[in-house]
Amino acid sequence: MSFAPYAAAAWLFVVGLYGVIASSNLVRTVLSLTVVQSATYLVLLGVGYRHGGKAPIVADIPKSSRLVDPVTQVLVLTDVVIEATVLALLLALIVQAQKRFGSIDPARLRALRD
């Protein structure tokens, strides 16, 4: 079972990529991109886990406790913030696409095809 989180991450990455490629709606493309990105959360959290490790909050646990790695957890926090900002920007671009081209089907964005 020790490879399971990474296998799930690889799966999420590829499935999300399929969504990006196959979707005929830009909103769905962007949501698929968030699926791709969630693979990175799984990898980071999976890498930092230690068997029997506690959350790295040392307020009320004995000093000798085994902790999971806090560094990868902070990276996930950064990752989440960046994802939220990128998502907002991409969605704003989609609103623009709808207003300019009257469609959010990537195949119908004429300006992109020419």
Binding site: A9, A10, L17, I57, L67, P70, V74, V81, Q98
Partner: protein, 253 residues
């Protein structure tokens, strides 16, 4: 390339990528068996030398404080981008007045029960957000999480189906100011380190007793600054998008 062409290409490339990923990820330490030393070092330094008990927040606002500065400005830049992209679609501020009939916006789901529950939610969300910001260095929480929860408070007004009331409680100029003040405050706290200690963003405040509210040096201040910025940034983003729907209106799409 047509959609069919793309899919055909992916049918070959997708499984190939999956195989490469699986092989590559096999090289990682097996799950639960991580031996990174940085984490162990941080586990000692942050409670010992900084008197913080939430090591994740401590990393964020102490060892990685400079990264967090960058992260903050990424958020700031992207919110600016969203405003730039969406605002020129809007004609003028006067639209808000003209569209009042459309914009008393009650969406179909706003029943009386939902309206009352949203009112109950608002103080709870705000209290939780303030708690998360202040206790960031002690228990799970910190500025980013607090900001999202705080931003959800005013958003509950939207659940009650009153978008204009939300605009009155959280007008755009106030959100812009909140966003900017939060970002500036974080950078300014860093200057404190330059003046009173030896380096930018270095701790210059008394460390206090571990586990008490006023401990861990400047971390609570950083946490509050980030919390303010995130609150402003997310509320601004959401209202920019909602404006598109409510004020510019569907028929102009």
């Amino acid at each position: 390339m047509t959609r069919r062409g793309r899919l055909a290409l992916f049918a070959v490339a997708g499984p190939g990528l999956l195989a490469v990923l699986v092989v590559g990820l096999h090289g990682l330490p097996s799950f639960g068996d991580f031996h990174g030393v940085y984490g162990l070092l941080v586990d000692r330094i942050e409670p010992g030398q900084r008197h913080a008990t939430d090591i994740v927040t401590a990393l964020n606002f102490d060892l990685r404080a400079f990264d967090t500065l960058g992260e903050e400005f990424i958020l700031f830049a992207s919110v600016t981008g969203v405003a730039l992209l969406l605002r020129h679609l809007r004609h003028a501020e006067g639209d808000l007045e003209r569209s009042r009939s459309v914009a008393d916006h009650r969406f179909a789901g706003a029943s009386d029960a939902l309206r009352v529950m949203s009112l109950v939610l608002i103080p709870l969300l705000v209290a939780l957000g303030v708690y998360l910001a202040l206790h960031g260095a002690l228990t799970p929480g910190g500025g980013f999480q607090a900001g999202i929860v705080l931003a959800a408070g005013p958003l509950a007004i939207l659940l009650a189906g009153r978008y204009l009331a939300l605009k009155r409680v959280a007008p755009q100029w106030a959100l812009e100011a909140l966003d900017a003040v939060g970002a500036t405050a974080y950078a300014a706290i860093g200057l404190g380190g330059l003046i009173f200690a030896s380096a930018y963003l270095e701790n210059f405040l008394p460390l206090g007793t571990p586990g008490e509210l006023l401990s861990a040096g400047m971390m609570p201040l950083n946490s509050i600054a980030v919390g303010l910025e995130v609150t402003g940034a997310f509320l601004l983003t959401w209202t920019e998008f909602l404006d598109q729907d409510v004020i510019v209106g569907r028929d102009e799409l």
